[in-house]
C-alpha cells in the first residue's frame, strides 16, 4: 500500500516538524503568541531611523520580517493559517496599504488571535487605517491634524512649533494592572509628536497614554493662525490606546510612529520654565507597549480549580453534587506571564477577584482572597454555605479587567435537597416533645391495658356492671 506508507511518513514528518517548531518557539520567544513579527515599513531609510526599536525587538527573540506596504508577495495568511504572530504597521508614505493589508484582512488576522501594533502619523494616515480604527471604536482625526500643547512642550526640539509634547508616563493605578508605569525607569516623561484619537465607550478599549489638559489637536492646514475648530482637546484625546478583543488578540493604536524612532529614544528634553535637561522614557515605554501588545505581559492563565466540602477531612475534590446548606470551599489557581516566566498572579489593591455561585442569577458574589503562593501561581480561596435552593448551580469566575487576558471559568454542580435521613431528628426539636410524650403515653397505656385485660380479676360488687356490657 504505497499510498498508506506515504501518508504515514508525511504525518511522521509533520510531527517532527511540529515538535521542532514547538522547541524553536519555546527556546526563543518572549511572546506567548509567537516570535514571527511582520513589520510593514516603506523604505530603507525609515528602517534605519528605527534601528534601536527593531534591535530591542530582535533581542527579545522576535524574528522580524520587513515588507513594503504595497508588496505583492506579502500575505498575512498561508492556507488559511496565520503566517505571522505579530504585525507592526508603520504609516505608509504613499496613499495607502496594498491589497494584502485591507481592514478586512487585518480584522481576520486579529480574529485568528494575531496581535497588531498600528502606528499612525498626522500627515500620512491612509483612509484604510481610519476605517480599520473605526471598526474598533477608535476615531482618528482627519489628515493633517496635529497635536500641540503650549504648556508642556520640549523647548529644545520644538521651541516655537510646540509639537513635541511632553507627556508624563502613565500613572500607576490601584485598580488595574500597571504594565506601562515601570517604577525602575529613570525618567518619567515621554516625548510625543503626532496626533491623538478619541475612544468609544466599549469595555475592550483602554487608553494607555492620555494627553494633558492643555493639549489639543488642530488642523495644520486650515487653522494655522487660530485654533477656531480644534478636533479634540485635553484628556479626551488619547495618544496610545489598547484594544483586547474577546479572543484576547491585542491591537494597540499609537498616534505617533516617531515616538519609537532613534531620534526620540535618545532625546533630551527641557520643559518650559525648567532649567534641567531630562532624558525621555520613550525606549522603556516602547518596550512596554510592544511587550503588552505581543503578549509578553498581562497574560493570566488558570492553573487549576478545586472545590470541596469545607468540613470534610477526606472530602472528594470537585464532586458533581452538593447538598443545600453544605459548607463549601472554592479555590482557583492563577498564574501570570511576565516577560519570560510564569509568576504568581496578584490582584490590584482596589480590584477584586470574585466568585459567583449562580443559577440564572448569582446567589453569591464573594471575593476570592489569596491563600497560598507557589513559585508560579497564587491560589485564591473562599468558603461559603450553599444556598437553601436546590437545582443546577455553577461556580463562576468571570474576571475581565483592563490589560489582562480574560478569565471566565464556569463549573456546574448539582445542589440536591436534604435526603429523608438528613433532617433534624424529632427529639432535637423541642416543640415535638409534647407529641413524643403523647406516643410514649399511648404505648405505655396500651401495654398496661393488655396486662390488665389478660390478668385482672373482677372486683366484687362491680362485676355486675361489667357483665351487663
Amino acid at each position: 500500500m504505497r499510498f498508506a506508507t506515504n501518508r504515514a511518513m508525511t504525518s511522521r514528518l509533520y510531527t517532527i516538524a511540529c515538535a521542532f517548531g514547538l522547541f524553536a518557539s519555546l527556546a526563543s520567544a518572549a511572546s506567548l503568541t509567537g516570535p514571527r513579527l511582520l513589520v510593514v515599513l516603506e523604505g530603507q531609510d525609515e528602517k534605519a531611523n528605527y534601528s534601536q526599536f527593531f534591535g530591542d525587538l530582535e533581542e527579545r527573540g522576535y524574528q522580524l520580517k520587513f515588507e513594503s506596504p504595497k508588496s505583492e508577495s506579502l500575505s498575512l495568511f498561508t492556507h488559511g493559517e496565520r503566517e505571522y504572530d505579530n504585525v507592526i504597521l508603520f504609516p505608509p508614505k504613499s496613499k495607502g496599504y496594498g491589497p494584502n493589508l485591507t481592514p478586512q484582512l487585518l480584522l481576520q488576522f486579529a480574529n485568528q488571535a494575531g496581535n497588531l501594533l498600528l502606528l499612525t502619523s498626522p500627515s500620512s494616515t491612509p483612509e484604510q487605517t481610519r476605517e480599520f480604527a473605526r471598526e474598533l471604536e477608535i476615531s482618528l482625526p482627519p489628515r493633517d491634524f496635529s497635536l500641540v500643547d503650549h504648556f508642556n512642550y520640549d523647548t529644545l526640539s520644538a521651541p516655537s512649533k510646540h509639537d513635541v509634547v511632553l507627556v508624563p508616563r502613565p500613572k500607576a493605578s490601584s485598580s488595574t494592572q500597571n504594565y506601562f508605569s515601570d517604577s525602575d525607569s529613570k525618567s518619567d516623561v515621554i516625548a510625543f509628536r503626532g496626533v491623538g484619537h478619541t475612544l468609544g465607550n466599549g469595555p475592550l478599549l483602554n487608553p494607555i497614554l492620555t494627553a494633558g489638559r492643555t493639549s489639543y489637536a488642530y488642523d495644520t492646514k486650515e487653522d494655522a493662525t487660530y485654533a477656531e475648530d480644534p478636533w479634540s482637546v485635553g484628556s479626551q484625546l488619547h495618544l496610545v490606546s489598547a484594544l483586547q478583543a474577546r479572543n484576547n488578540a491585542r491591537i494597540t493604536v499609537s498616534g505617533s510612529a516617531e515616538i519609537f524612532s532613534d531620534e526620540f529614544f535618545g532625546m533630551k528634553v527641557k520643559a518650559q520654565g525648567s532649567n534641567k535637561k531630562v532624558e525621555v522614557a520613550n525606549r522603556v515605554f516602547a518596550k512596554e507597549v510592544t511587550g503588552w501588545t505581543f503578549k509578553e505581559t498581562g497574560v493570566v492563565k488558570v492553573v487549576g480549580i478545586r472545590h470541596y466540602l469545607t468540613s470534610g477531612v477526606d472530602a472528594p475534590i470537585n464532586p458533581s453534587m452538593y447538598r443545600i446548606k453544605n459548607h463549601v470551599t472554592f479555590e482557583i489557581e492563577l498564574s501570570e506571564y511576565s516577560n519570560d516566566q510564569w509568576n504568581p498572579y496578584l490582584v490590584p489593591s482596589d480590584d477584586a477577584l470574585q466568585l459567583e455561585f449562580t443559577m440564572l442569577d448569582p446567589y453569591y458574589r464573594l471575593p476570592l482572597l489569596p491563600s497560598t503562593f507557589s513559585l508560579n501561581s497564587t491560589t485564591f480561596t473562599t468558603s461559603f454555605k450553599i444556598p437553601d435552593q436546590h437545582g443546577v448551580f455553577a461556580f463562576r469566575v468571570n474576571y475581565k479587567r483592563p490589560f489582562i487576558t480574560n478569565v471566565d471559568e464556569k463549573y456546574t454542580v448539582t445542589v440536591r435537597h436534604f435526603a429523608h435521613d438528613e433532617y433534624t431528628r424529632s427529639w432535637d426539636i423541642s416543640g415535638a416533645w409534647v407529641w413524643m410524650a403523647g406516643i410514649a403515653v399511648t404505648v405505655a397505656g396500651w401495654v398496661a391495658f393488655c396486662a390488665v385485660w389478660l390478668w385482672s380479676a373482677p372486683v366484687a360488687g362491680k362485676s355486675k356492671g361489667k357483665k351487663s356490657q
Partner: protein, 299 residues
C-alpha cells in the same frame, strides 16, 4: 463622546501653571476688560460684571435654561493686543470633567467673546451643581500660556429638565455599556429556620400529657379496681404462652422504637417476621386460657 477625567493633570502642567503665575511679570498671554453678562432671549441683558486675570468673578452666576452667558475680553500677548493660537473657555465640574469652547477672536485686535447656554453643555456637566470657568491662552513662540480661573456658574434646572438630563447622561455613556471592574458583593439570604415555642411551655404541656397516664392508672387501679390477681393462675395453667405473648407485645413496641431511632424498613420487617408468628401462636394459647377462665366464671 467619551468624557474622561482630567484629574491626572500632569506634573508638567502644574509646573507650567505655577511658573506662569510666578512669572506673570515676565510676560504671559493674558487678557483684560473681562465682562460677563447673563441675558434671556429677547430681553435686555442684565448689568455686566467685570473681571480680570487677577480678579475673578466673586459671586457665582446663575444660568437658567433660556439664558445665555456672554463673556467678552481683550486678549493680550504680554502688553500688546494679539490673537493666540489657543484661546479656549474651559468648563469643568468638581470631579475634573471638562469641556472646551474656542473663543471667537476678531483678528489681531484681540477682542474675544464666547457665549454659553444650556444647550452647549453636555449632560454630565449641566447636571453639576457648580461649574468653574477658566480661560486657557497659549500660542506658538516663547510667550508662556496661562490658564486663569474667571468664575463659577450654577446651572438652574427645572424638574422636567433634570429627568431629561438623566436620560441623556445614560445615552452619552452608551446604553447598557459594560465596564470591566469588580462588581458589588452578594450574600445569599437564607429562609428562616422553623422555630419551636419556648421550652418552658413545651415542658408544661409534656408534663400534662405524662400526667394523663398517671390519671389513667389511678382511674384503672385506684377507682375501677383493675388488678393483676389472675397472674399466678394464668401462669399456672399456661406457663409458656402468657409470658411469651406479653413479651412479644412489648417486643413489637421495641421494634417500633428501633424503627423510629435507627432501623430501616427491611430490618423492621425482618424483626416483625420473627416476633409476629410468636405473638400469633402464643396469643391464641394465652387467649384460650383467658376464655377458659371466663367460661369458668372467674372473670
Amino acid at each position: 463622546m467619551r468624557l474622561t477625567i482630567a484629574s491626572d493633570m500632569s506634573f508638567w502642567t502644574f509646573l507650567a501653571l505655577s511658573f506662569s503665575t510666578l512669572a506673570a511679570a515676565a510676560g504671559t498671554w493674558t487678557f483684560e476688560n473681562g465682562k460677563a453678562s447673563v441675558s434671556a432671549k429677547g430681553s435686555p441683558s442684565t448689568e455686566s460684571m467685570s473681571f480680570s486675570a487677577t480678579k475673578p468673578l466673586t459671586s457665582p452666576l446663575t444660568l437658567s435654561a433660556r439664558e445665555t452667558l456672554r463673556l467678552t475680553f481683550t486678549l493680550k500677548d504680554d502688553a500688546k493686543t494679539a490673537r493666540p493660537h489657543q484661546a479656549f473657555l474651559l468648563v469643568s465640574d468638581d470631579t475634573g470633567l471638562e469641556t472646551f469652547f474656542p473663543l471667537s477672536v476678531k483678528g489681531e485686535s484681540g477682542k474675544a467673546k464666547v457665549e454659553l447656554s444650556h444647550k452647549d453643555l453636555p449632560a454630565h456637566l449641566l447636571s453639576a451643581d457648580k461649574l468653574s470657568l477658566s480661560i486657557a491662552l497659549g500660542s506658538f513662540g516663547s510667550t508662556p500660556g496661562s490658564i486663569v480661573k474667571i468664575g463659577t456658574v450654577q446651572p438652574a434646572l427645572d424638574a422636567a429638565a433634570k429627568v431629561l438630563l438623566e436620560q441623556q447622561k445614560v445615552k452619552d455613556l452608551g446604553e447598557g455599556a459594560i465596564v470591566y471592574k469588580a462588581k458589588t458583593y452578594i450574600q445569599h439570604t437564607f429562609r428562616e429556620d422553623p422555630t419551636s415555642p419556648p421550652v418552658a411551655i413545651t415542658l408544661v404541656f409534656t408534663a400534662a400529657v405524662l400526667t394523663s397516664l398517671l390519671g389513667l392508672f389511678i382511674a384503672w387501679f385506684g377507682i375501677l379496681g383493675a388488678n393483676l390477681n389472675h397472674l399466678p393462675k394464668a401462669l399456672g395453667s399456661a406457663p409458656i404462652s402468657h409470658p411469651l405473648f406479653f413479651g412479644s407485645l412489648v417486643a413489637l413496641e421495641g421494634i417500633f422504637f428501633m424503627y423510629y431511632t435507627q432501623w430501616n424498613l427491611f430490618q423492621t420487617l425482618g424483626a416483625m417476621g420473627v416476633v409476629g408468628p410468636i405473638s400469633l401462636f402464643s396469643g391464641s394459647r394465652a387467649l384460650r386460657e383467658v376464655r377458659a377462665r371466663r367460661e369458668r366464671g372467674e372473670r
